[in-house]
Symmetry: C2
Subunit: 329 residues, 2 copies
């Protein structure tokens, strides 16, 4: 049952009256605010199309709000999902939760958990406009001894679907660097590298795109500082991406540009279904809302056997950057 | 470098002169014969388009022949791949090799292996013609004590992309049953059930298609009997499928039939990238030829957010069969 986007704002007011100052509530309010802001900004950029908004509940605990725009004027498929879920997690899902430091879970065992996050993938129609993904999340788990472990994770990355426009990539990375630098000068360089490593399609030997930032298991400072850092990152999403949308959304493109975009989307699907831990976490979580997880997949994708871009083409140049990640700022 | 299909036949003659009577050579000759026969039959059914044939070598040992027809008159994408590879396998790949009885491999350890198989996915253009997949393979591994273990695996399954045509599915299953019954009356019922279980998209709660047969770890009889059984199965591929192609390939279809076919293909991609052990085995095998593994993916696929077929529609009927596998013979 679709509800109007305005509901989100009303809900935030509702939450504000009840709010406790704990991190779970603060995170929930942050991701709902970001979802509302992103959806409104994208609707404005599209001009014609509204998000379909659905509230959903998970019978095992929690729920979320999924906003999807499909077949718009500017956006072919854009999804912005918020989920706040809790309950018990089977070992297979728990293993997808953390990047570097694995959680101890007995085989066949379960883990009490809380997860609150916003995630989004924006697939524009025009191949001149890159695809963008972001995700910011807070996790807490209780181990068998009753001890709670918490951490933040997240990131944002850009995937050109036609050619490399260097100044766009520089703008994107610079905006992220500014957001990071306010909190720690090491964050941007560390998380930029992590991003290149994470969004790598091993079987293709190429990155999904031109990177951005990615971090996980973030718990090395006090919760308040880290929450502020994540807030800065989430607030930098639209400033890093929207100017690129506006710059290119009316540019013309050819049939072969569209076909190449569809092939690049095929690679996007490969990454998401084969490697992405967020997707796997969703697929392995009992009672997860599959449509909210797989909204990240493009409306159309293509797989051509043994495709190689023409030597010296813009496409070949893009591929060479995907195979050899660069520093942008 | 493309070579003519006739090369395959020449190669078979070449192999015949050198042949030893061992199972590896017999399997290699079988899969090359089947590849040649299937490609010729499909070219005839297409009428206009020829397979592109490529021989490839794997620097770690072995190689194969990949035949792909793309954007034909009848077939949108059809791939028939033969590979005969050997070498050492990392633990991750070894774990994808067997279905029920896992192989003992130390973490980080490797396993000497030999694998010979033919695999194929046929995606027709016309939504009235179902997609078909088959794969027959022989594996041998040598454990750390120097003991060789061998087994056969394989299967074939049908995926309607428009609606359920019951008599087609019955024909398909009957042909497979006849091939199985010549060897053991228990094979068809057992392997039909296994097929329904294997080609199940857990996160969607639906099967990939209307099944067929699937088996793995087959070593409970002498090699000669099992080789003959696999031969019967491989020879039944075209008789089970071609009549369905011929019956429907000239039928008309609508724009919405095509869109529904693309959505079903999206599910096909989900199965292959998330669950298929053959695909994972390929992705985890060092030096594997990715294009030969991912030729199974359709030329085009689509993901629409939260799509539901209209109540009482042919599409809804098909979905209900995918959610509740039936007995067909």
């Amino acid at each position: 049952m679709p509800v109007l986007p305005i509901t989100i704002k009303n809900l935030i007011f509702l939450f504000c009256f009840q709010t406790r100052n704990d991190i779970k509530t603060r995170m929930e309010l942050l991701i709902m605010r970001i979802q509302g802001e992103v959806c409104h900004a994208l609707e404005k950029a599209d001009g014609d199309t509204k998000f379909k908004v659905e509230r959903w509940f998970r019978k095992e605990g929690g729920g979320g709000v999924t906003c999807v725009m499909q077949d718009g004027t500017v956006f072919e498929k854009a999804g912005v999902n918020v989920s706040v879920v809790q309950g018990n997690l089977p070992a297979a899902a728990a293993q997808q939760m953390r990047a570097r430091r694995a959680l101890k879970v007995d085989e066949g065992g379960e883990l009490a958990f809380f997860a609150a996050g916003v995630s989004s993938v924006i697939h524009p129609k025009n191949p001149n406009v890159p695809t963008m993904h972001f995700n910011y999340r807070y996790f807490a788990v209780v181990d068998s001894d009753g001890k709670e472990t918490w951490w933040f994770g997240g990131g944002i990355d850009l995937t050109p679907m036609k050619e490399l426009v260097e100044e766009d990539v520089v703008h994107f990375h610079k905006t992220l660097k500014q957001a990071c630098d306010k909190h720690d000068p090491k964050y941007y360089p560390d998380f930029k590298k992590w991003c290149d490593k994470y969004f790598f399609i091993t079987h293709r030997g190429e990155s999904r795109g031109v990177g951005g930032i990615f971090f996980d298991d973030l718990d090395q400072r006090n919760q308040d500082d880290l929450f502020k850092f994540v807030t800065s990152c989430a607030e930098a999403v639209m400033p890093s991406y929207l100017p690129i949308v506006e710059k290119h959304k009316e540019r013309g493109y050819s049939y072969s540009d569209r076909q190449w975009q569809l092939l690049r989307r095929g690679r996007y699907v490969e990454f998401n279904l084969v490697y992405d831990r967020g997707t796997k976490f969703g697929l392995y979580t009992p009672g997860a809302r599959i449509e909210s997880i797989l909204m990240s997949l493009p409306l159309y994708a293509k797989w051509e056997y043994d495709h190689h871009p023409a030597p010296g083409s813009k496409q070949e140049e893009l591929l060479s950057v995907l195979k050899n990640p660069r520093d942008w700022v």
